[in-house]
């Protein structure tokens, strides 16, 4: 790693002030991507701001028909939260399938979402549930938040404080994990709110995206059979040593059907 200064922020304001006064400050949330990137000398911030002690970023609460999760909540906390298990069990199950225990004990919701890795799991839940990303100065709807690979709507000196997830009637997430990293080769989050259905895909494209054709078909008939015959285009999908674009397109269809089946417990 290149040399940097370390500051443990005492409050959200302290974190923002330090971030604004640094030449190239970076926020240390869980560090599961940032620290390896710095070790590989692909990032060289001069100031790291540790958010672990910032109380405004902690906590899991239910507000009416939403579950609001603090940005510094670790994946393991989401996976084991009774409140999340009883309101959005699909979200707890998603967190339980991220990486490995060491990653789940350190990685955070806010860090994952801000990083916008194309194969991360959380973006599928954020878009699939139509969540709202709340920052220090505004609220950003999920559909506006993710821009592209490692790119979001966040401004340079903006900090995610929490994410508000609407509680669906039913939801499920199914992914085909890379067997080594357990990142999603393709993952599909399906959620139904009354007569509205949302289908979000991660891992397959540059960034999480919705599947309009599947949503319409499922709004007419919420069953795996309704997805028969919907062809997912391989155009623009990711292609790497793990999977071709065509294979990913196929996996999106398979994972979507499995997610709907899981919603129906069939």
């Amino acid at each position: 790693m290149y040399e940097f200064s370390y500051h443990k922020a005492a409050s959200l304001k302290d974190a923002l002030d330090t971030l604004q006064s640094a030449d190239d400050g970076k926020l240390l949330a869980g560090g599961m991507t940032l620290l390896p990137t710095m070790k590989q000398r692909l990032a060289a911030p001069d100031q790291l701001i540790d958010l672990a002690g910032v109380k405004e970023l902690a906590g899991i609460e239910k507000h009416d028909n939403h579950v609001v999760i603090g940005a510094m909540t670790r994946h393991a906390e989401v996976a084991s939260s009774e409140l999340i298990e009883s309101t959005i069990p699909a979200l707890a199950a998603l967190a339980e399938l991220i990486g490995d225990p060491q990653v789940r004990n350190r990685g955070t919701l806010g860090g994952s979402v801000a990083n916008s890795d194309p194969a991360a799991d959380y973006p599928a839940a954020v878009v699939g549930l139509g969540a709202t990303v709340i920052t220090d100065n505004r609220s950003i709807e999920a559909d506006e938040f993710f821009v592209d690979m490692f790119e979001t709507e966040l401004e340079e000196h903006e900090i995610i404080t929490s994410i508000s997830f609407p509680i669906p009637d039913t939801a499920a997430y199914m992914k085909f994990p890379n067997p080594a990293s357990r990142y999603a080769v393709a993952g599909v989050f399906v959620a139904r709110f009354g007569s509205t259905v949302r289908v979000a895909v991660t891992g397959a494209g540059g960034s999480v995206f919705r599947q309009d054709a599947m949503e319409k078909a499922l709004e007419a008939d919420f069953s795996p059979a309704a997805l028969e015959g919907i062809v997912v285009s391989a155009d623009g999908l990711n292609e790497d040593i793990h999977a071709s674009a065509e294979y990913r397109a196929h996996l999106v269809g398979v994972m979507a059907k499995r997610a709907v089946a899981a919603c129906l417990e069939i």
Binding site: Y6, L28, G31, L35, D100, Q102, R106
Partner: protein
């Protein structure tokens, strides 16, 4: 600029100084001569540097030394009771669940965390709990058997 970090390591109050860009792994090995914790990949993939931080299993190569301020750390050095090995350590020996040994301290710490939460894990639960620890020579079967056997012994104790 070096920082002074105060921690509790394996039950003992322990202070060390470290630079901002020093990992907890490096501080443990180089500042405190605790060489039980190993560096494998250095990027959080292999789990050889596994320790617990306030009871949670983490890769110490992806924790900064400075982040350990005020925290409680446990490493493989804290597992045995003097000369008496922890049942996991004893069973790893009996089942030959290691060859080169680089991954072993990480596996032991990870398995200890599992058995403290779940004294009677299934094979699937053991494999899930040890998913962040890679072994490139023994293979996982003997490791799983050693953990099962240690769990059985600890339940009888």
């Amino acid at each position: 600029m070096a920082m002074l970090v105060s921690t509790t390591i394996n039950g003992d109050a322990t202070d060390f100084s470290c630079e901002a860009d020093e990992t907890l792994l490096d501080a443990l090995r180089n500042r405190l001569s605790m060489t039980g914790v190993k560096e494998g990949c250095g990027t959080g993939d292999c789990g050889a540097c596994s320790i617990t931080l306030d009871g949670a299993l983490v890769c110490s190569c992806l924790v900064l030394g400075a982040e350990a301020q005020g925290r409680s750390i446990e490493t493989v050095e804290g597992m045995s009771d003097g000369e008496k090995l922890h049942p996991l350590q004893q069973k790893f020996l009996e089942h030959a669940a290691l060859q080169c040994g680089i991954c072993t301290p990480g596996f032991l710490v990870a398995a200890k965390v599992l058995l403290e939460k779940n004294p009677n894990p299934t094979e699937s639960e053991i494999r899930y709990a040890l998913a962040g620890n890679l072994c490139r020579c023994t293979g996982y079967d003997k490791i799983v058997r050693a953990v099962q056997d240690a769990a059985a012994q600890m339940r009888r104790a």
